[in-house]
């Protein structure tokens, strides 16, 4: 139990996917303009990351390893992820328009979020078992959501700030992310 907790804490804070590991940055920058959107994105990402780490684990252990075709890993993972995501999108769009409004538009973006493939690949390099894989995926997503939401709340505040013209927009967002990442250095060592 403690191990699982530490793994979770480690992925959320110490090795935060966005600020420390540099994964999933494009959506981090792209959809963090508004708190509401960020929350939608967070939920969507959490769902997809968890499912992706689960399904890629299955593909890895039951298809790739037995057949000795690890070199097809990237291809098969991304295929699985893309299909899962797109299928989810279609279903959500049809069955629950309100949920779709919240998550749907972000789902296609997630396929190309490298955090998703990153989780799948890191799971195999770190040789996580099934449960660990899921926890890792979930933790990564929580870490992503966590900083995304904080970041978007900050950016909302930034909207009214008197930022010098050249720094407006992406630049100040990057600098803010940099300072966040600076703060996250404080977590180094929490999990040795």
């Amino acid at each position: 139990m403690t191990e699982i907790f530490l793994l979770l804490l480690g992925t959320v804070l110490v090795n935060n996917f966005v600020l420390v590991q540099f994964l999933g940055l494009c959506p981090f920058m792209g959809v963090s303009g508004k708190l509401e959107t960020a929350m939608g994105m967070s939920m969507a990402t959490t769902f997809v990351l968890t499912v992706a780490s689960m399904s890629s684990y299955l593909v890895e252990t039951y298809v790739l390893v037995p057949l000795g075709i690890e070199y097809l890993r990237t291809l098969s993972f991304i295929l699985v992820i893309a299909v899962v995501v797109q299928f989810t999108e279609m279903v959500v769009r049809k069955t629950s328009p309100s949920l779709y409004r919240l998550l749907g538009i972000f789902l296609p973006l997630i396929t190309t979020n490298c955090a998703v493939l990153g989780v799948a690949l890191l799971n195999t390099t770190k040789q996580h078992n099934f449960v660990e894989s899921i926890i890792y995926g979930f933790g990564a997503a929580v870490g992503f959501s966590f900083v995304l939401i904080l970041f978007s709340a900050m950016r909302e505040r930034l909207a009214a700030a008197d930022v010098p013209a050249p720094f407006k927009g992406a630049s100040i967002a990057m600098i803010t992310a940099g300072l966040m990442s600076l703060a996250f250095m404080g977590f180094t060592g929490l999990i040795k």
Binding site: R157, A159, A160, D162
Partner: protein, 534 residues
């Protein structure tokens, strides 16, 4: 909602002088002693009075005088058909010399429809119909009398008093507001000291109308004399209670006073009556007594003229419509004592600056403040908000002024409203304490005005869309009808042509060719100069 103290609880605490408090608030220097040392003075009549047709919240009344008419003091100039209209009266006798736009008692300095009367100095009075036996009259009659006397709230908001009095909900507390929390102003103070008895009569009338369980007369503890006289005036009545309220700005705000006395909060989309309270200013009570007992309309009020730029600060009985210039002369104003000439109508916290000395006294004018150079120094430009939240700590409505300011400034009105911008009572406590000297209230006012404007525009664009679409439909229908007609005509022609036989065919071809050429030409024209065709 917070727990609701019930009647008995409230009365117990009031009798123990153990009141509640409202959050925030500030303690600006009072400077009341400048003007409250002398009796309310009677002053000379001005040579003209400017009486704005509308001096209250609501709609204009119907004018019943025209230029050239002579009017008597107290003669109505407008009538009220609509219950939201309050009539205005000539405040002295004389001749109506103009009914035109005149600069109004409004921060904008814009003009409004105003009746200008040249005074004849006789001050001859109109016939009043007193109603000293009001206790025998029906409520409707009394309310009619209040309305006809042109009374609107004298505490600042200018809400038609007869509307407030025409109430059907049960009232537990009739609250008489003698707080006068604004620094400098002493008009209510003096009125209570000198005319407690008449105020008491006004309260009696209101009690007759509203049947409250309890009357609370709230006076700040910095006015011991007023407290004394009001206590004496009210001592015979069991359910009249004169309450001393700790001095803190803005204790006189309706919502805050209710909170202090009863711990109840007026719901943000509701009215004081919803929680069993109704509030009147002491000046309003005085005017009600005049109106009902003597039938005398509201044509004069007490105005404090104060500030270190006048030599003789005092309270005066000023006729409605008196140009400010006249009052300033009375109090010996010296503009050279000000580095920037500045005249404030109302107090330093909520009053507004006047852009002209021709602006008249209106029903809500309780004070004319002319500060000397160092007295109320002009602030420099605002600095950036340092988010110290001193403003939030001072806000009596528990708002977050700095957030509303950020969003108002960035024109993010939706967010500003999310922070309950419209619950701001514009008391100015926040701007008073702000170390960065940000005119916060100004931003809120701008934002509120903008939001209202945007809503109007939204409605307008909705209307425009409907009309545009209706027009498109109409055009479409017309076009179809026209085509149908053409088709029928063509068919008819065809038939007649067929009868004519072959010779006509050439004719048709020729006509068609002509039509075609014409059309082509037209289109070419249309391309470079799109305009309607014949």
């Amino acid at each position: 909602m917070k727990m609701f103290a019930d009647y008995d609880q409230i009365m117990e605490r009031i009798s123990l002088q153990n009141l509640w408090d409202f959050p925030g608030g500030v303690h600006p220097t009072q400077k009341k002693s400048l003007s409250n040392q002398t009796d309310i003075q009677r002053i000379d009549l001005p040579s003209v009075v400017h009486i704005p047709v509308k001096q209250h919240i609501g709609v204009n009344g119907e004018l019943i005088v025209k230029e050239g008419d002579t009017v008597k003091k107290g003669q109505p100039l407008t009538t009220s058909e609509n219950s939201f209209a309050v009539p205005v009266h000539a405040s002295t006798s004389g001749t109506v010399v103009a009914i035109s736009d005149h600069v109004a008692a409004h921060p904008s300095g814009l003009s409004e429809l105003t009746v200008t009367i040249e005074c004849d100095g006789k001050d001859s009075e109109y016939e009043y119909t007193p109603m000293s036996d009001y206790a025998q009259r029906s409520k409707g009659e009394i309310i009619q009398a209040i309305c006809a006397a042109g009374i609107s709230g004298m505490g600042g908001a200018g809400f038609p008093t007869h509307l407030k009095a025409n109430n059907v909900k049960p009232i537990e507390f009739l609250i008489i507001n003698g707080i006068e929390c604004e620094p400098y102003i002493t008009s209510d103070d003096r009125l209570m000291r000198e005319h407690a008895w008449q105020i008491r009569q006004g309260i009696d009338i209101l009690c007759h109308l509203l049947q409250p369980k309890q009357v609370l007369i709230a006076i700040e503890d910095n006015k011991p004399e007023a407290f004394e006289t009001m206590s004496i005036a009210c001592q015979q009545e069991d359910n009249y209670h004169v309450v001393k309220v700790p001095t803190k700005y803005p204790a006189g705000g309706e919502k805050q006073l209710i909170q202090v006395l009863t711990s109840r909060e007026v719901p943000s989309d509701g009215l004081p009556v919803d929680i069993g309270c109704l509030m009147y200013n002491v000046g309003t009570c005085y005017a009600i007594a005049d109106a009902v007992i003597e039938g005398k309309p509201l044509i004069e009020r007490v105005v404090t003229i104060t500030g270190e730029a006048v030599d003789a600060p005092q309270n005066v009985w000023a006729r409605i419509g008196t140009p400010i210039k006249h009052l300033l002369a009375q109090a010996q104003y010296h503009s050279e004592k000000q580095s920037y000439p500045r005249i404030i109508m109302g107090g330093p916290m909520m009053g507004f600056t006047l852009s002209s000395v021709q602006i008249p006294v209106v029903k809500i004018t309780n004070c004319i403040l002319v500060p000397a150079a160092k007295e109320l120094p002009l602030v420099e430009d605002e600095r950036a908000c340092i988010r110290c939240s001193a403003c939030a700590d001072a806000c009596p409505a528990s708002l977050l002024p700095q957030q509303m300011f950020w969003h108002s400034k960035a024109k993010e009105y939706e967010k500003a409203q999310e922070y309950n911008l419209f619950d701001c009572i514009e008391c100015g406590a926040c701007a008073y304490v702000c170390p960065s000297e940000i005119p916060l209230v100004h931003y809120y006012r701008k934002a509120k005005a903008d939001i209202r404007q945007q809503q109007l525009e939204k409605e307008k664009s909705e209307k425009a869309r409907v009309r545009f679409e209706a027009r498109k439909d109409r055009l479409q229908r017309e076009k179809e009808a026209r085509e149908e007609k053409h088709r029928l005509a063509a068919e008819a022609r065809k038939q007649s042509l067929n009868k004519d036989g072959g010779a006509a065919k050439d004719k048709i071809a020729a006509a068609l060719a002509r039509a075609k050429a014409k059309k082509a030409k037209q289109q070419a024209q249309l391309k470079d100069k799109p305009s309607s065709d014949e």
